[in-house]
Symmetry: C2
């Protein structure tokens, strides 16, 4: 039986094949995201992987349905596997924001889903690190969010040579559009052309822009000038104060496809420009109001960082750590008369916090030792009965090959206190 | 907009209401499960939350569909949100077992789903700690799995006064059934009566048993004798050697509803007997063969432990820790002229691994200090310009109220090296 197309199995390393997905690498990325988010004072939340379809159509219009993993459940509800976390988060925050001091700083690592009929071979799920701030309009919040984005990539051993965050502003584009005096009904169409500018043939873009009362030259001049708005200026200064100035640049090519952004928007890219965006986000000061049906009005901003492009980049830059799977101790049981006592030793070591394994069944000592080496154990321990009948533990450091014979409690202590 | 019935939102503490779900408690449970599984040398894996419906009907028959969260996807595939992890695991193991040394010891913490039309108010999802061993028929593997189960509950601060694992054996019941000389076609019906014995009126059970050629007295006598099989005896001895004998007892009332178990089966219960089973599992030596269509034959055994009953028990026993959310440092910014320098200090402290927060915008010093207390920060730090123009850090231990003024680099070092 096969897994469904577009879904992934995550195997422990060593992987069966190079192109398979590693549970170890996934854990490493998740652990790093979590650790950095916590250092920034962000708190973890989670919501259901399944939501009512309406939550997404309210936010993004009915066209979104073509990209959703949606269906009708047994209770005749129109539902969808979540394609993004922000609507769930906005729903949760709107329901209980009064319970929390502002600014609210929350993060989650949800699995997200999509289903486009025409896209064979593409993944239908991925994991995404989501971090959001609510209740603060000051650009200091945008800077804090960007600093978290940058530091989570730095914690994965990526440098300013590997990635850059391109900063832009819906406000700047709105001003540009307004200066031209065009009717607001063309505004979304205009943003759509800008969003696709880098992927579209110049002539085609120019034609589309002219139909909206602009020209490509005019737009390109605006992008090239890259005049920071007051918000962007404050953000740049803030990031420079933190020593993170090298990781960002103003780039008005970025505008973000999703309609709900209201202010600063940004995308992180690999510097070689070979991959899709590593992360993206921005300000969405009206979303909570929209999702809550007008009941709660709370400014918000956030980003999402997927696991797929990121993993590609980490592999390409060779900064993924070797699998973390290694034992602290492998317990050799060479004398079957001492199996019960050996199990007790294993138990003691594990209770002390060590990662311990052993052979379930009698096995030749060289086979057991081989298994210890394969498990990349730091130590072997072996119970021995001394001449006086007392039990002793023969410990071996598998790196230095140093050996030592100690009493039972000393062995536990030695391994507990940092493994000599 | 509301979330779907039967699904949960997980909020950071303090919770909006007592009966809401805590993301902090969930993380505490998940972290403990992970830590103990790793100490036992189990490796983490994961699979898709969505699988083909066939994976479940192959294992459990078509009747299972009534309990599944199943639907037809946009590609006309019959699919289901996973109701349990074992079929996915058996599929994954069957596909790549040759890549891994035996015994394979793996764990996962999947979210599982079900949808029974008639059950309003019941949860439709839960999380489950799954641990499994493949490639070992010796009862030593069963004992290792049971030890992991017991130690993961002990690590959550539950004791032998709080829970017990009731050990049983399909082999024992199969022998009992065979001794009666009844035709094998009645075997599953017989197990079904046994499985429901404790929840069914005696008269009714007796009638059903007599229809199958047994009597309730006879069955009760077999249960009361609780004669351990050779396997169970080996398991008990093994667990006693580890000092875990107090956590298990032979109890043939347990037989497990799922048809695929082949040997030892077990369930963990709270000792007050007020809750549903905390965990359950057993041996399923034929499942990999079944799922792989006969291609791979590998003995297996495993257990599942859900988060819902467990959380109820931990709350009842008052052993859930207070929320772990606390800051290491709150940085007070009282002199706005030093905001940039303060941001740099925040950055340095975070890079050193500390959890740090501060006020995004200018705020009165008592308001900032209140925020520091609310965040349960261990320390406040505040930049000050000394008479000679040099920057100094005023640190305050919020517990001892002790204060100290030190240089910038010393402050970072002091906080990095364990917070004085």
């Amino acid at each position: 039986m096969e897994r469904l197309p577009g879904f992934r199995d995550f195997y422990p390393e060593p992987l069966p094949h190079q192109d398979q997905w590693s549970a170890d690498a996934r854990n490493y990325i998740f652990d790093t995201w979590r650790a950095v988010a916590r250092r920034y004072g962000f708190r973890e939340y989670d919501g259901p992987p399944l939501e009512s379809l309406e939550l997404y159509t309210t936010k993004s219009g009915d066209e979104i349905v073509a990209q959703l993993y949606n269906f009708t459940d047994k209770g005749d509800r129109a539902v969808a596997l979540r394609p993004e976390m922000t609507p769930t988060l906005a729903r949760m925050v709107a329901a209980h924001e009064r319970n929390y001091k502002k600014p609210i700083k929350w993060f989650a690592i949800p699995q997200l889903f999509r289903y486009e009929r025409q896209q064979k071979g593409r993944l239908r799920e991925h994991f995404q690190f989501n971090a959001d701030i609510f209740g603060e309009t000051d650009p200091a919040a945008d800077a804090e969010l960007l600093a978290l984005l940058i530091d989570s990539l730095r914690a994965l051993k990526l440098t300013a040579d590997d990635f850059v965050v391109r900063l832009s502003s819906r406000t700047a584009w709105r001003d540009f559009f307004a200066r031209q005096g065009r009717h607001a009904e063309y505004e979304d169409d205009f943003y759509e052309v800008i969003d696709k500018l880098e992927r579209t043939d110049s002539g085609q873009s120019d034609t589309k822009l002219r139909a909206l009362g602009f020209s490509l030259d005019q737009v390109k001049a605006f992008i090239a000038a890259a005049e920071p708005t007051a918000e962007l200026d404050a953000i740049l200064k803030n990031l420079c104060a933190r020593g993170l100035g090298d990781f960002v640049k103003i780039d008005y090519n970025v505008i973000r496809g999703l309609a709900y952004y209201t202010g600063v928007v940004f995308e992180a890219f690999d510097k070689k420009g070979e991959l899709r965006a590593i992360a993206g986000g921005g300000r969405y000061d009206n979303l909570v109001k929209l999702i809550s049906g007008g009941k709660v009005d709370l400014p918000g901003l956030g980003f999402g960082m997927g696991d797929v492009v990121l993993l590609e980049l980490l592999k390409d830059r060779k900064v993924l750590p070797e699998s973390s799977a290694r034992l602290d101790v492998f317990c050799l049981i060479e004398d079957e008369a001492l199996r019960a006592e050996s199990l007790r030793l294993v138990q003691n070591l594990r209770e002390g916090g060590s990662t311990v394994d052993y052979s379930f069944t009698p096995a030749k000592s060289d086979k057991q030792f081989k298994r210890a080496l394969e498990s990349r154990a730091a130590f072997t321990v072996k119970l021995e009965r001394a001449a006086d009948g007392a039990l002793a533990v023969k410990m071996k450091n598998l790196k230095s090959r140093e050996e030592k014979t100690v009493g039972l409690s000393e062995a536990c202590k030695l391994i507990r206190t940092g493994l000599p």
